[in-house]
Amino acid sequence: MPSSPDNIIQIKAKILSHKKIAPGYFLLKLDAPAIAKLSLPGQFVHLRVLDSDIPLLRRPFSLHRINPDSIELLYQLKGEGTRILSERKKDEMVDLIGPLGNGFDLTDIPEGKNIVLIGGGIGTAPLVTLTEGLLKRYDRAKLTFFLGARSQELILGEGEIRHSGIDCLISTDDGSYGEKGPVTRLFEKKLTDWKGKPGMVFTCGPKGMLKVMGSLSRRFKFPCQVSLEENMGCGIGVCLGCAVRIRTNQGRDESFEYKRVCKDGPVFWASEVIFD
């Protein structure tokens, strides 16, 4: 994985727009040209939802879209922090640190092979801006986007993906849209349909899903990048609070080291992550 660029800044960004796009999902657009300029797909920002002691910590959010002068975050209501964030209004300022983390590795994708993106629920957030990056370099016909969610109204970004001409396959847990079942099962099915193994898989979503992707990637031996989440303190690599277990010794034994999601990640090779 590439290491995180050192160039990070702290700014106050004005909210350009803020809207609910699905039940419990919000799209936040921030006036942040300086951060936008530095950002890569897969990186994230650390955002202070309010200037208050509660919630105390910043909240990390992936870059959902990197525009020339602005960035967009797609987030899901989860607890108090995101609830308070969701009440912030257009023209108000939020304090941001970014861009943070390594971002996806686009350097080593074999020509001519399938490139797969798999987003589970809010995990779609960082993949959208990645698609844009990939389209600049690869044939759209080679890209396949798998979208999974609990049910139809929580499928995010479909319109946009289809609009860019990428094949989009959908599954929902309740079967209200697309295949019924986990998106990893749909992917596994396709995997056996396809002639060759994918040249690269990018994935983000709930832990359970990433764990399955880790196994699949080891079993079928395709390269798979996962964007991980872990509770964060600093977000920039000093507190060692966001540790995840990463296999060492090429995964040949149980040995591992701790890596920082915020600085060594958030993107890791799925096959190397030890999921609990």
């Binding site: 702290q10 002691d53 509660i54 919630p55 105390l56 303190g233 920039i236 507190c239 540790a243």
Partner: protein, 309 residues
């Protein structure tokens, strides 16, 4: 320069350009925050606790947010003294700020050996001895809350270095003054008060503790009144300079610590919330001194009015 000298202070034998430092474990060894702020403006940087050998630390999750606070159980993850001397210290030395190295050991001998190694190094203003990491239990020994061990250990470290020695005490004791007194007698030059307070938080849906280590150390605004109380109690009775910390988020909080008796303060969790917190506090204190026409920060140290009614 006039402004500068008002914040200058000597602390336990260290000449601090200003009394605002950053706390151990919340600032790494400076490299990352150097991207965001000018380290030259800090009064001092206290490194993450260094152990003799590289140490892996605790399993995740290591952090949990609670009301007005942060629970952590990092478990002393660090790359060990060799790496520190080779890579971290040379980087830190570049800056015009006082470098205080925080050491932690799993045995008494380890503390002494670490001290010996650091004696050799250049550019270290002082040592801070972490006797109180609540998240590592080797055979249940907590060096900071056993009077006898504390005394012996501080004496041994004292004997092995000429560097100014700050002892960081555990707040998880009944009578902090007693432990402060022991450290003073055993030869400490200053006291660091307070480290984190032991806490627990639980996910009520999974029945799991929010930290894999079960308990962790509570930091942040929640512990501020506790820290202030301990500092005031120690200030009244023990003649050692105090480096105060615990929930300092903004200028007013830092001022409370000075008034309670801290001679310098360290900013910890606030760095995560606002990397500029320490610099903003330096500015804020200058303004406060101006407004109240104090010539030096020294004029407010320990000046809590307690018999005024």
């Amino acid at each position: 320069m006039e402004i500068k000298s008002r914040l200058e202070i000597d602390f336990a034998g260290i000449k601090l350009k200003n009394p605002i430092l950053v706390s151990s474990g919340t600032f790494g060894c400076g490299r990352e925050y150097a991207e965001l702020i000018d380290l030259n403006r800090l009064g001092g940087i206290i490194t993450k606790s260094i152990t003799e050998k590289p140490h892996k630390g605790n399993p995740p999750p290591r952090l949990a947010e609670v009301s007005g606070g942060l629970l952590n159980a990092i478990g002393l993850e660090n790359e060990g003294i060799d790496n520190f001397l080779r890579e971290k210290l040379p980087f830190l030395r570049q800056f015009k700020t006082s470098i205080i190295v925080n050491i932690a050991g799993f045995t008494e001998d380890e503390y002494v050996r670490l001290t010996a190694r650091l004696n050799q190094a250049e550019g270290i203003a002082a040592l801070e001895v972490n006797l109180s990491c609540p998240n590592v239990k080797k055979g249940g020994i907590n060096f900071g809350s056993e009077p006898e061990i504390l005394k012996r250990l501080v004496k041994r470290i004292r004997a092995s270095t000429k560097l100014p020695l700050l002892i960081k005490l555990s707040p998880n004791v009944g009578d902090i003054v007693k432990f402060a007194g022991i450290a003073a007698e055993a030869g400490a030059d200053g006291l660091s008060l307070i480290n984190t307070v032991l806490g627990l938080s639980i996910d009520v849906n999974s029945f799991k503790p929010k930290l894999a280590n079960v308990t962790g150390g509570l930091s942040g605004p929640a512990i501020r009144p506790i820290a202030l109380r301990m500092i005031w109690d120690v200030y009244k009775r023990i003649k050692l300079p105090i480096l105060g910390s615990g929930g300092i988020m903004r200028t007013e909080d830092a001022l409370e610590f000075f008034i309670a008796g801290a001679r310098a303060v360290a900013i910890g969790t606030a760095n995560f919330v606002n990397p500029r917190a320490s610099l903003e506090i330096i500015q804020g204190i200058k303004k406060y001194l101006d407004k109240h026409e104090f010539k030096s920060i020294k004029e407010i140290i320990g000046k809590l009015k307690v018999n005024s009614r």
